[in-house]
């Protein structure tokens, strides 16, 4: 008899790649992992597969020309991207927008938040193995996209805001259609919650997975639902109100344990709060112009500003450096929430199983378009 060969099962640690072409990575994310059996010993996200040099392109374009490019960053939440850029440029140029424009922006942004959270819920649930919520959420998402389409003609890359206001007036009957959707929306959220919140498999897969303490969350710079799921009550809409969020009454939901289940609950409650904001905006929608009086050619003063909005995924900031009498940004840096949130992935998955990595990627709600820019 020869000496026993090394068995296939004696391998101590195995290195594998997850992605970049994998349906559960939500785009072209690659995670290089060291595994001990099914346990993740080390995880390293590798990004950049979708890098398009948007920040370089911004430097070659006039301020208004940049807006369509912001759509392509977080492509499931284009309206909040438009809003972030417009808020930053308005801060730089000292433009104040009419109340009707601000309310229309809030309506579009909150509809977008609902649409984005619906995509998150659908994909997150599919990743974990529950396929039914997908069909429910995409039904409502389609109704929201129809509203966008009748407002600006596009469903995803909306380009629906302008520096100084919004480009279009609402079409006839839009407010009524939107009201109808908003009034029925809480019932839909109840439907999703019926499928998941008390579902035993869902709870087994999410409770205690990817726990982040509040201190860690701040240290790693998490924003948005991942930060609030850890119990930090922090929302740009309340901390630095833009447009007219200071006139709106809403709550910031927070979690207690900082795990995947709490982040799920936070996002579900955020949808209810969005419905509440939409209801108030539609009821109070002021009359008047929807565009401020802005010069045809925008010329900046030398200086730098940072304008931030609460995107569905967290704090989305645009840092703009302008030169004297410049018509284009000298430098425009985007602070994408997904980029910073993804960085905490190793913290959340190390020690868990490979299947939990999928749950954590889902709960971070990343979009590679804005990570790679």
């Amino acid at each position: 008899m020869t000496a026993p060969e090394k068995s296939l099962f004696d391998v101590e640690e195995m290195e594998i790649n997850f992605g970049p072409q994998h349906p559960a990575t939500h785009g072209v994310l690659r995670v290089k992992m060291k595994l001990d059996g099914e346990k993740i010993m080390e995880a390293r996200p590798i990004i950049g597969y979708l890098h398009r040099g948007t920040e370089k392109l911004f430097e070659t374009m006039d301020f208004p020309q940049c807006i369509p490019h912001t759509d392509r960053m977080d492509y499931v939440a284009a309206a909040t991207n438009n809003q972030g850029f417009c808020v930053a440029v308005e801060k730089l140029l000292g433009i104040s927008i009419p109340p009707r424009a601000a309310y229309l922006r809030m309506i579009l942004a909150e509809l977008q938040r609902l649409a984005s959270h619906l995509v998150w819920l659908a994909t997150h649930a599919v990743d974990i193995g529950a396929i039914t919520p997908f069909f429910y959420t995409f039904r409502e998402r389609d109704a929201i996209l129809d509203l966008f389409e009748s407002y600006c003609g596009a469903r995803l890359t909306l380009n629906c805001m302008k520096i100084g206001g919004v480009p279009f007036e609402l079409p006839e009957g839009w407010v009524e259609r939107c009201s109808e959707l908003v009034d029925g929306f809480n019932a839909h959220i109840d439907e999703y919650e019926n499928l998941l919140t008390e579902n035993r498999i869902w709870k087994k897969r999410t409770i205690g997975i990817g726990v982040v303490t509040p201190e860690e969350a701040i240290e790693w710079g998490l924003t948005g639902p991942p930060l609030r799921g850890s119990g930090v009550k922090w929302d740009i809409r309340k901390v630095f109100p833009y447009d007219r969020y200071d006139e709106i009454d809403f709550e910031i939901p927070v979690g207690a344990n900082g795990d995947t289940y709490d982040r799920y609950l936070v996002r579900m409650e955020e949808m209810r709060q969005s419905v509440r904001i939409l209801r108030q905006c539609l009821d109070r929608l002021p009359a008047g112009p929807s565009m401020a009086r802005v010069p045809k050619i925008l010329r900046s003063k030398a200086g730098m500003v940072y304008g931030a909005v609460e995107a569905p995924k967290g704090e989305l900031g645009y840092f703009i450096v302008a030169t004297e009498k410049g018509t284009a940004p000298y430098r425009c840096h985007v602070r994408p929430p997904s980029f910073v949130n993804l960085q905490a992935l190793p913290l959340m998955v190390e020690g868990h199983l490979v299947a939990d990595l999928v749950a954590v990627i889902g709960t971070l709600d990343i979009v590679l378009g804005e990570i790679d820019r």
Partner: protein, 260 residues
């Protein structure tokens, strides 16, 4: 705006003087010389109209002050921010660390020496409560005398929601201390600044390219990097592509006409 005080009579004629055919250009008009009296009368009429318009405007103004969105936008001004509490505290703790303080659009920017950035950040985090690094990026000013790059740190304090920007001028090829040990968030942000600008952060746990690939040749957000991009084959096919980009030389590559 400029038609408040017309120097020349306006081109449009009052309807009573319908002598010239409609659509007559100013040059055609100039061919028919007007007598001095006619000219004087026209000028007087134009002045009267302008004065009337002005009076009407003046009368309309006080009754309805325009809302800010109908006014011409006024960009914010720069102001000195040396009295800012954090600037004062930082200057007191680390003398010479605040080179300038500027307030623009409600945001405070402190210029700090790049060589001391780690201790400044550490003090601001541990001594002043700036526990959240929102953003870290760089700006390229190729022609500037005091150093090519500006490193920008954008800090946030949760207690009173105060934000503070640090701006450190840095010469090309000069390394700067990493703040990844101060805030964990800085890790990827510094990698991005390294990738995009070629700024080397000393003491960084793993300074690798992040958005471009590991063999990429160049730093895309530098102003001298062409917008249309460069041929980036050079780093992995140095025998085929000349270093620094550009098309491959004649006869390079394999038989099929391209690199592997």
């Amino acid at each position: 705006m400029s038609d408040d005080k017309p120097v020349n009579p306006p081109e449009e004629k009052p309807p009573t003087e319908g002598a010239a055919p409609e659509g007559a250009t100013p040059s055609a008009e100039a061919k028919q010389p007007l007598s001095e009296e006619e000219k004087a009368a026209k000028i007087a009429a134009a002045r009267a109209r302008a004065a009337e318009k002005k009076a009407a405007e003046a009368a309309a103004e006080p009754e309805a002050p325009k809302p800010p969105w109908e006014e011409k936008p006024v960009p914010p001004d720069h102001a000195d921010a040396a009295d800012d509490a954090d600037a004062v505290a930082l200057a007191a703790e680390l003398p010479g660390s605040v080179l300038a303080a500027d307030r623009f659009a409600g945001e405070v920017t402190l210029s700090v020496p790049a060589g001391r950035i780690a201790e400044i950040c550490s003090f601001l985090k541990n001594g002043r409560g700036f526990r959240f690094l929102v953003d870290l990026t760089a700006i390229d000013w190729p022609e500037r005398a005091e150093g090519r790059f500006d490193l920008i740190y954008w800090l946030h304090r949760h207690d009173d929601s105060k934000r503070l920007r640090l701006r450190a001028a840095l010469a090309e090829e000069t390394p700067v201390a990493s703040v990844a040990g101060v805030w964990k968030t800085a890790d990827w942000m510094e990698r991005e600044a390294y990738d995009m600008f070629g700024i080397v952060f000393e003491g960084h746990p793993g300074l690798e390219r992040i958005l471009t690939w590991e063999g990429f040749n160049g730093h895309p957000l530098r102003k001298d990097f062409p917008v249309e991009g460069i041929d980036t084959g050079a780093a992995i096919y140095p025998d085929v592509y000349p270093p620094g980009g550009g098309p491959p030389p004649e006869g390079a590559g394999d038989e099929e006409g391209g690199p592997a």
